[in-house]
Assembly symmetry: D2
Homo-oligomer: 345 residues x 4
């Protein structure tokens, strides 16, 4: 940590800071500049808000942490990419994966139909919501465990592993019985009891970014899961809130190559929620691939006009097929390949 | 709902929309303008995302909901201010209340000492965290139920009712045994299972605004609690995220008079979290009072430099006393009064 | 325009609104719903803030404009893509163009050297700043007209047309003598006297998006130029401000396919300013191409560590060459081609 | 400046940085920590983007500037408050001033009438726009010099000094002939040619904050004016852009006590533009006073429903009078007074 004193700081003010550092067990070096004195604190393991404490001391201008607050999520800690194996699909290994399916599970035939369609067009995982976070208490909240059963049946019939959302610690056990990957939604990125609970689970977790989260907050949330012992965490960029009233969200692709430098975790993009409009999904999926994402997750519905939730952003199977062809081109052009379909899924 | 067709829409495109409305059981009127046709849909009870569905139909330019999506929280529904009685303290009744205490409960003597200090200087409720949401898994997470016991003892000795945070549905029962008011933190504003659970509880709830939440999202979150049967909900503005790197948050006071028109629920301001710096707390507390808030919640600590969390934003008892004197002046100048202290608390 | 009355509006309140509409020369239709009355105002040519006026009337809940406030920039007005011819380079015609060069012109040899390097690797236009908007009055402000002369000489030697920034109305004439395309920078997107002045000029204009501008504000700024008679306007997305402290800006690619639907104007992306870090430029340039941009503008410098401005985001010639190869692949994969180099530039 | 090397940095990487520092004439001290090496660069006068240059060097983790980039605007440079004398009205001297008037000057009788009304109710300066920045090229753009003449006549009849906006360098001379204070609008906060030009003028300048500007950017813009020789600069908070769709802007009062620590310049709040709704103006004006502002600027119009611009946010004279009474109470309660009206204005 670097502590910068104000020009007005006296020797006594500096002494007060050094005494506090000594009291807390840290070493330091003092650098006296033309106008200001700077204290370099040596060590690691600062309390999370030690920086703010130091800034509250008299005549301290600023305190700056120089080590990242996340460890297990950091590429400094693990230089090699994490590869997550989901029933033979390797996420993060260089190949590109596609997760697709309906926003909400609406019925058995519905989700089985979508699953087959996704599999037919080369998708790798089936997404679908059984527990739905909805802004209004009066909206459809998902089919619950019944929906999970339908997803399991759709997996059996399509061969696609399943990813589905879990919303509270008390539901982790039941969701784990059915799903292959847990999804943590954007509103729950900082739901720490839930993060701790999936950190103890044995299935991989896809952690969506909070709507206004910084990269550091996101990686700290991943750190909660990793610290619990679950090493199979992937990150999902799903659009940030911006000032643009025409768009539900703005898919932030800049974050993808930036994350690549900072973390070893796989990175997925969600152009459906990231834009909110079906006609923006294909161009943004292709752009995510070009920016280096490990995969995309998109919404597919046979009849988006009658979907029970998020219809306006869902692709029809025909549009999904068109996107897959486009992705194949961009993925190949950037020196990678679409993940092959496992022989026996 | 108002549906505006594009200039390019044909009679068939319009017919398609009208058929869909008929299928869904709505009436309408068609207004044919110079360039565009507009369809006024008559009725209420639209599904939450009906607007987006309509916008996804061919040649529809836009669809606009004209009724508010929240009902119970709306002043249209209840024109008279809600007044919440907490052991004789009336929140929302025109009088101004002050909640104060440490960020985290650090021990019995600690919280009893702060409570007495708050009571001595005219505070009305004691705040203090036993379950703490922390950005880092490696930070102090609160004393848990032990902290709740200390809060209860501090209430006994100081006479101040207690407000403390609950973070997950499974903790609501234990927290309810000790607290007088539940606090829902900013990261949990859209934790729907938790909102539903406190909606079934018998104690009042203070709902903090999400860091980037709109007014409508905030009132929809309140609606979850109200819809569960708990009518004693107060809102707490605690600072929004802005582009300013010098400030942890920006206390948004504009929202206070705006909320006053939209909802009957009491409105509290938190200038401690809303600024992150103790020297901004007093001016912003006074500003909140001038803007019409029903009260403030602030952090007080006998030794902020050694607080276990959020020290930089805590007031010393002397600073708290100074703020109370300032508040008294502004509250009186705006034609209200500081809430009297109940004779037997 | 659609005016929605509050549930509390009486017949007199409605009459007041209708009288005002009659006074202002508009027709209307009244739709009486279950709870509210809605007034559909027929006509166009509303004053810009007529909506806000209506919302300020008693018992009016909201007023919504249903026509776009921009006309000449709208695809409704001109369904066919605008193609801008810059010395034989066609911008917006489906082919992909690359503009490259130093942030600041630092000297004759410097800019001639960069120009040759850009031309050698297949770039189409030379960018370079002679008048520089700098956050600090103490930073290098550009070489001024001397810099323009160097750019002209670099064009002569490399064959590349030149794009350079103009910062105030009084400089438009001198810049026009040297440049092939005017650049309007992000801080000047709403500098209306400047927009009006380049609207009277004969050279094309590239209008960068303001750091927090909405799409509508951006297109309204383009409208200022178009309304002045200059039809050759292209839009440049250069990164928006977000909450991410690690990034100078966040390149917003979602805006590209959205703009494509709304306007006929060519769309360029600037991944150098849009990220602020050279190692993010290539992936974001490729992503912009995949999202459908008509071209990119990037910074190239032979020795970025010693550039006079914006060095950290500049590509070396070797990195530029690598980006060009990557772009070729993605552009081809998305069914387009890199713009051919004119035989005699 | 503090340069933090990555854990992976070798001695050669460190040497490279030190050589660059030596080349640029700086001294340093090296602090070797457990994991990382930190270089404290001694000196001032770093180029504006030296930080980013350093961050672009190999194996540099971060570089942090420890001196503020603004000097003349800083309270470190001038500890005593700047007091600006406008015809006997002292702005920044502890007393509270009120500037009021119409958004646009609409005619002679109109502005004289408003001026008299403002003076009658205790206002100190007359505001009014003759050159108007408008989002649409088709909106009313102001009366120009004719409007300035009407303002001058209104000053003669009311005794109130005048503040009015200047939008381009070429208009500074003509505006200076009529006005007492220049206003620089939010869209022009970083219009550097304009800032430089008013920096050479002899009249005071009120600099509005850009819609998404940080405090540092705002003070750097003030620095442009101060560096030109004009020491009479006041800052005006006029609302920032947030995610709230119900509000045109969000008046950021947190910035007021923060600025007070950082700068000696007077601070004004604009609750009219800062909210966009007349019914929010009074509470936010009172809140601004409670937060410590030196004054407010508000819009007053005899007939807001028929104002040529910004009617929805204008106060009627009756509402203005009500706000003035409220302000008197809050200003007095916070230990200050309303500025007395000069005997001969």
């Amino acid at each position: 940590m670097i502590i910068v004193m104000r020009p007005t700081a006296s020797e006594d003010d500096i002494r007060l800071v050094l005494d506090r550092l000594a009291e807390d067990g840290f070493d330091w070096e003092v650098v006296r500049g033309a106008e200001r004195t700077v204290i370099g604190v040596i060590g690691t393991g600062f309390p999370q808000d030690y920086q703010e404490h130091m800034e509250a001391m008299p005549h301290v201008e600023s305190a700056t942490r120089i080590t990242k607050p996340y460890k297990l999520a950091s590429r400094d800690f693990r230089p090699v990419d994490t590869v997550i194996d989901v029933n033979g699909i390797k996420i993060g290994g260089g190949d590109f994966v596609v997760m697709a399916g309906p926003c909400s599970v609406e019925g058995l035939d519905h989700v089985v139909g979508v699953a087959r369609s996704v599999a037919d067009h080369g998708g790798h995982l089936l997404r679908g919501g059984a527990f739905k976070p909805r802004t209004s208490p009066y909206s459809f909240q998902g089919l619950g465990e019944e929906g999970l059963e339908y997803l399991a049946e759709a997996r059996r019939q399509s061969g696609l592993p399943v990813i589905t959302e879990v919303m509270e610690p008390g539901d982790v056990d039941v969701v784990e019985r059915y799903t292959d990957v847990f999804q943590i939604g954007t509103r729950n990125m900082q739901n720490y009891p839930l993060l701790r609970r999936v950190g103890e689970a044995s299935k991989p977790v896809m952690l969506k970014r909070g709507m206004s989260a910084t990269i550091e907050e996101w990686l700290m949330a991943a750190e909660y899961i990793l610290a619990g012992g679950n090493k199979n965490v992937m990150l999902c960029e799903r659009g940030i809130r911006t000032f643009e009233p025409m768009l539900r969200n703005t898919l932030d692709l800049t974050v993808i190559p930036m994350l690549r430098r900072l973390t070893h975790l796989p990175i997925i993009a969600d152009p459906s929620h990231g834009t909110g409009k079906w006609y923006l999904v294909k161009p943004m999926a292709l752009a995510a691939a070009a920016a280096g994402a490990d995969g995309v997750i998109v919404e597919v519905h046979p009849d988006p006009d009658h979907a029970w939730s998020d219809g306006p952003q869902a692709l029809t199977p025909a549009n999904f097929s068109d996107m897959m062809r486009g992705l194949e081109g961009v993925v190949t052009a950037t020196g990678r390949r679409m993940h092959p379909i496992p022989a026996v899924a």
